[in-house]
Every structure is written in structure tokens, then in C-alpha cells.
């Protein structure tokens, strides 16, 4: 019977207290889930990177270019399967607050290395033929209401002037881990325009993207590439795409650590709240536990009643919190899409939510259960009446 029924009924003996505790757990799990999702979003680029892709950049800094002529030299290095290149453009769309990643690249070779980026064939063909053509991610196009054929003007910051692009393609991600907020166009267009204007950076690229045959030889190939350009005018630094992405995050690591810390502080606070509720509950029912003991119920049963109630209240709150995390993350993701192109609630976050709720339930029940088990029956019975 009724052990489960008893746990359920006991949980609602103080309806307001139970409601407030469940509400507290719900808010805590929701906040925990959202903060963990922010951390996941921070690392989304790292997670999406491929082990078979390397990035070669100027060893001094990414702001210094590399000669395009390196491309053929890199292609000849053992273990290299394909080479492409790109240059960060850093253009502004209407206003500085409208930030999104925009860069030039050689589309055939570049996108061949990103099978996760999907472009319809007809759009792809138009994009390849159109020198001023550009492609944008689905979310970015939705954000600004862009349609195929629209002319999009970006104001150059690194490369001054207004740059007009024709939106020839809108790409989709193969799954929800792919950033759909990037904007890219032909490197040739950038290079030719710079040549015409007689500016610097002609026949130069920001980075080379390299596909290797086997992820296990990434370190060796990286060393070979960098050795090849040792003592040249532009020495290189080659690293895996993951390490390249991580180098950006390392600049903001303190913020990520702070967010992680706060997420655990929230769990600690709610643990104290639930523990307080369970301590009050167990203190009020110490006489009843004595009656159970009198009837022959053992420590296991008494602990089960207290733990069961703690689990019930905590898991109710956790379930609500988890269910609310999805719509809340969708709203946050939409509002913060400029900063977090991928804002998905990861399966690991839900697992962490559940683990956190279970830990809260067990820890909160620990002391009241211990106390209820160890109180002498005669002392417990004195509390009745």
C-alpha cells in the first residue's frame, strides 16, 4: 500500500510549505539549467569542431595575414588532404549592435570541409557563379528578414567602405549543433576589390583551413606545416580547429568559471532550503515515527518515509524546472542569438539537473532521517498528543 500513498499524503500536509519548496526547487533547477546552457553555448563552437580540420594562422596573431602562396606548399605536406582559406571581414550591418560572424573564403574547397553546412543545389550553383554572392545561415536570415536575391550592405571595419553582397544562398545546419548565424562570401571578391583600390592585404589570407587524412596525425602535420614556414617572413601557428576555437574562449574563461560557480551555488542554496523543510517536517512527525517503530517498523522504513518525501518534493520541483528550461532556453536563445548562435539545452544539462535534484533530495533527508532513526521510542512518544 500505503507507504507510497503515505509519502504522497505526508508531502501535502503543509500545502503552502510544500508548494513554496517545490517552487524554490523549480526556480533553482531552471536557473541551473539555463546557466549550464550558457556554458554549453559558450563552448558550442568547440564542440562542433572536427578532429580532422586544422587551422593555420600567423604565429604572431590572427590580425596578421599569411601569403596565399602558402596554400600550395601546405597542400604538398604529407598527411594533408585538402586546403582552403578565409579572411575575417568584420563588417557591420546597419548598426554596430547587429553583430554576426562574417568572413570571406574560397567556397568550393572551404565548404567541402564542412559537410554539416547544407545549401540547396540551385542556390549553391548561383552562389558559385556570382562574384558578389553571399550565403547566410537560416537563423541570421530570419533575424533580419533577408530573402534570396536581397542586396545586403556591410560597412567594412578592417576593410573600409560599404560592401554590397547579393544573398544567393541560405544554409541550414545538418543538426542543431551547427551555427546558423554566419555570413560568408567569395574571398576573390574581397581580394579583387582590395587590388583595385590599391590597399594592403592583397593575395593574403587570414587563415588556412586544412583537412587531414587521420585525426591521429594532427600533431605531426601541424609540426610539419609550421616547420615548413620557420624563419619565413610570416611564420605560422597550426593547431586543431578545437584548439583554435578554445583560444578564443580562453580569453573569457573567468566568466565561464564564474557562471559555473554560480550554478553550483544555486544548487547549494536550494539544498539548504529543502534540508530546512525536511528538518521541520521530521521534527513535527517525530512522534509518528516513534509510533511506526513501536508497531515494528525498522530504521529502513523510517528513513524511506523521510527520503521518499524529500525525493517526491525535490523531483516534483526538478521536473517542473526541467520542463520550463526548454521554453525558457528558446526565449533566451532568441534574445541572445547575436552572442550565442547555438543555445540548445544539452542532454548532459538534463542529466546534471537530475543528478543535482537527487543529491539535494538525499542530502536534505540525511540529517532528519538520522535523527528520526536514532531517537528513542519512549522519547518520541512523549512528543505525541
Amino acid at each position: 500500500m500505503h507507504i507510497l500513498k503515505l509519502i504522497f499524503k505526508n508531502s501535502f500536509r503543509h500545502k503552502l510549505r510544500t508548494f513554496l519548496t517545490i517552487l524554490g526547487v523549480t526556480v533553482a533547477i531552471l536557473a541551473f539549467g539555463l546557466l549550464r546552457t550558457v556554458v554549453s553555448a559558450w563552448y558550442a563552437g568547440v564542440e562542433a569542431s572536427s578532429a580532422t580540420r586544422l587551422v593555420t594562422r600567423n604565429s604572431v596573431s590572427l590580425v596578421f595575414p599569411l601569403p596565399l602562396s602558402y596554400k600550395e606548399k601546405i597542400r604538398q605536406i604529407e598527411g594533408v588532404k585538402g586546403v582552403s582559406y578565409g579572411t575575417w571581414f568584420g563588417g557591420i550591418y546597419i548598426d554596430e549592435k547587429n553583430f554576426f560572424a562574417n568572413y570571406s573564403m574560397e567556397p568550393r574547397t572551404y565548404l567541402a570541409m564542412y559537410p554539416e553546412i547544407i545549401i540547396q543545389e540551385d542556390q549553391w550553383n548561383v552562389f558559385l557563379r556570382d562574384r558578389k554572392g553571399a550565403a547566410a545561415g537560416k537563423k541570421l536570415a530570419e533575424r533580419y528578414g533577408w530573402k534570396i536575391g536581397d542586396v545586403i550592405t556591410l560597412k567594412g571595419t578592417i576593410f573600409p567602405g560599404n560592401w554590397d553582397f547579393v544573398l544567393d544562398a541560405i544554409y541550414k545546419g545538418r543538426d542543431d549543433t551547427v551555427d546558423e548565424t554566419a555570413f560568408f562570401f567569395h574571398w576573390d571578391y574581397l581580394n579583387e576589390t582590395l587590388k583595385k583600390a590599391g590597399r594592403g592585404w592583397t593575395d593574403k589570407v587570414g587563415w588556412f583551413l586544412i583537412e587531414i587524412e587521420d585525426p591521429d596525425i594532427a600533431a605531426e602535420v601541424s609540426l610539419r606545416i609550421d616547420k615548413n614556414f620557420k624563419n619565413s617572413l610570416a611564420e605560422t601557428l597550426t593547431e586543431t580547429e578545437k584548439a583554435f576555437q578554445l583560444s578564443f574562449i580562453s580569453m573569457t574563461e573567468a566568466i565561464v568559471i564564474a557562471i559555473r560557480l554560480v550554478s553550483f551555488v544555486i544548487i547549494f542554496i536550494i539544498m539548504a532550503v529543502v534540508a530546512n523543510t525536511m528538518a521541520m517536517t521530521a521534527r513535527e512527525r517525530i512522534g509518528e515515527y516513534a509510533i511506526f517503530k513501536t508497531l515494528g517498523f525498522g530504521s529502513f522504513h523510517i528513513a524511506g518515509l523521510i527520503l521518499g518525501e524529500s525525493l517526491f518534493v525535490t523531483m516534483m520541483g526538478a521536473t517542473l524546472g526541467i520542463l520550463l528550461t526548454f521554453p525558457a532556453a528558446a526565449i533566451f536563445g532568441k534574445e541572445l542569438s547575436q552572442y550565442f548562435p547555438i543555445f540548445n539545452v544539452a542532454r548532459e544539462t538534463i542529466v546534471l539537473d537530475i543528478i543535482a535534484a537527487l543529491v539535494v533530495a538525499f542530502v536534505a533527508a540525511l540529517f532528519p532521517a538520522w535523527r528520526a532513526i536514532h531517537i528513542r521510542i519512549a522519547d518520541g512518544l512523549r512528543r505525541v498528543g
Binding site: 500505503h2 503515505l6 513501536t294 508497531l295 515494528g296 517498523f297 525498522g298 528513542r376 521510542i377 505525541v384
Partner: protein
């Protein structure tokens, strides 16, 4: 009455409590024999040790020294878990404040001790209905304690005490919280349990009317047990 000898045998039972630096003796070398089917009343002033003696007999407190044999089992030698199992099978409890679980119905309260047995759900139902019929509350089995009067709650508590067919029933001031009519009902019910079902009852009471229902009255004073001067029936 159909008395059988020696269901409870207590010898040289002592119990003391430590309060600060002071050792307070509650029971001194108690010897007591209770026959099967006997109704014994324990009387005495507050603090005389009645409830402590009852708790020791019921196995919910530990003696400092001495022997308590119930149904041939030396319960002072039992470990805590063995004692819990022994209580479940051998002792029925009736408390002054009924001590029913407020969120369970009368049926569920009576069923509680049976959850520790291997009985099936159907068998448990039969036992519970029988016990509730004995206390004339079969028609109230779906009521929660809050929907019952004090006397009815005490009768549910008695049904819970007898549902496992225990060796002894211990009652601590069973009429202490009841009005006169309800108290009479409960006492009559306890007499029926002794006379018709052959139960052994040990009852602590302050109420001489309740004590007069017993076959034997023992008087405790400052931890020493004496036969009640007016209790020879």
C-alpha cells in the same frame, strides 16, 4: 475467565535515568508475573515508573538489569532489530492519544502492522475487517481519524492493536483523553477482548474506575511494586 500461567515473567528488573550528574532510579528490583488471559492494571502517582515498566514489557525501552520473559522469550537479550520484529508479532499498543496516522483512513491505520507480515492484500483486508468488526467500526473504515470522535479513534487504535493477534496488549492511559461514556465503551471493549478472545492486557491508568475492570491491580510507588490494597478480586 480461562487463565493460563506465566505469559509475562519479570525478575529483579531495574531501571534508572541519568539526569545531569544525578542518577534517578525509576524501577527497583521489580518482580511480576502475569498469566495469559489476565487483565492487569498498573496504578501509581505520576513519576512512579508505571509507563517505564509498561515500555520495558512492550520492548520499547531497555532495562538496566533484570529479566523480562514474555511467552518464553527473554526480550532483554534481543538486539534492536530483533526487538522490532518481536514487537510487531507479539505486542499490541493502545495509547492515551490514540496515535493514529492522521493522513490514513481507519482501514489503513489498522492495516499498518500487517504490512510487516507476509499476508496478501486479500488476507490483510479480511484481518482488518474482522478487527474493525470487533470494535464495531466496520462502517467507518474509510473515515480518516479527523472524522471520528475520540472514542471511535481509540477503538480504531484497539483494532490496530489486535489485528496481528499479539501475545499481549499494553495500554497506557487508554481512557485518559476520553469522556465518561467513551471511556466506558473502551473499557467494555477491553473486557470483551479478555473474556471473549482471551487476550492478556497490561494497562497503566490513573482512573480507579478503569482499574476496577482489571482482574488484578498493582501499585507502583517510587519504583517499587506492591499489590493494590483494595485489589483482590
Amino acid at each position: 475467565m480461562n487463565k493460563k500461567p506465566g505469559i509475562v515473567e519479570i525478575r529483579n528488573l531495574c531501571k534508572a535515568y541519568q539526569r545531569g550528574n544525578q542518577l534517578i532510579t525509576v524501577l527497583q528490583e521489580i518482580d511480576l508475573d502475569i498469566d495469559e488471559g489476565e487483565f492487569l492494571a498498573l496504578m501509581g502517582p505520576s513519576g512512579s515508573g508505571k509507563t517505564t515498566l509498561l515500555n520495558l514489557i512492550a520492548g520499547i525501552d531497555k532495562a538496566d538489569s533484570g529479566s523480562i520473559r514474555i511467552g518464553g522469550i527473554e526480550i532483554t537479550a534481543l538486539a534492536e532489530t530483533e526487538l522490532a520484529a518481536w514487537r510487531a508479532n507479539n505486542v499490541g499498543f493502545i495509547f492515551q492519544f490514540y496515535n493514529l496516522i492522521p493522513v490514513l483512513t481507519a482501514f489503513e491505520n489498522v492495516e499498518l502492522p500487517l504490512l510487516l507480515t507476509g499476508l496478501s492484500k486479500g488476507e490483510r483486508r479480511t484481518h482488518v475487517e474482522t478487527a474493525l468488526r470487533v470494535v464495531n467500526l466496520a462502517d467507518r473504515m474509510d473515515h480518516s481519524p479527523g472524522e471520528l470522535s475520540g472514542g471511535q479513534q481509540q477503538r480504531v487504535a484497539i483494532a490496530r492493536a489486535i489485528v496481528t493477534d499479539p501475545t499481549i496488549l499494553v495500554a497506557d492511559e487508554p481512557t485518559g483523553d476520553l469522556d465518561r461514556d467513551s471511556a466506558n465503551d473502551v473499557l467494555e471493549l477491553m473486557e470483551r477482548l479478555v473474556h471473549e478472545l482471551g487476550k492478556t492486557i497490561i494497562m497503566v491508568t490513573h482512573d480507579p474506575r478503569a482499574a476496577n475492570k482489571a482482574h488484578q491491580i498493582k501499585h507502583l510507588d517510587k519504583g517499587v511494586l506492591n499489590a493494590h490494597p483494595q485489589a483482590d478480586f
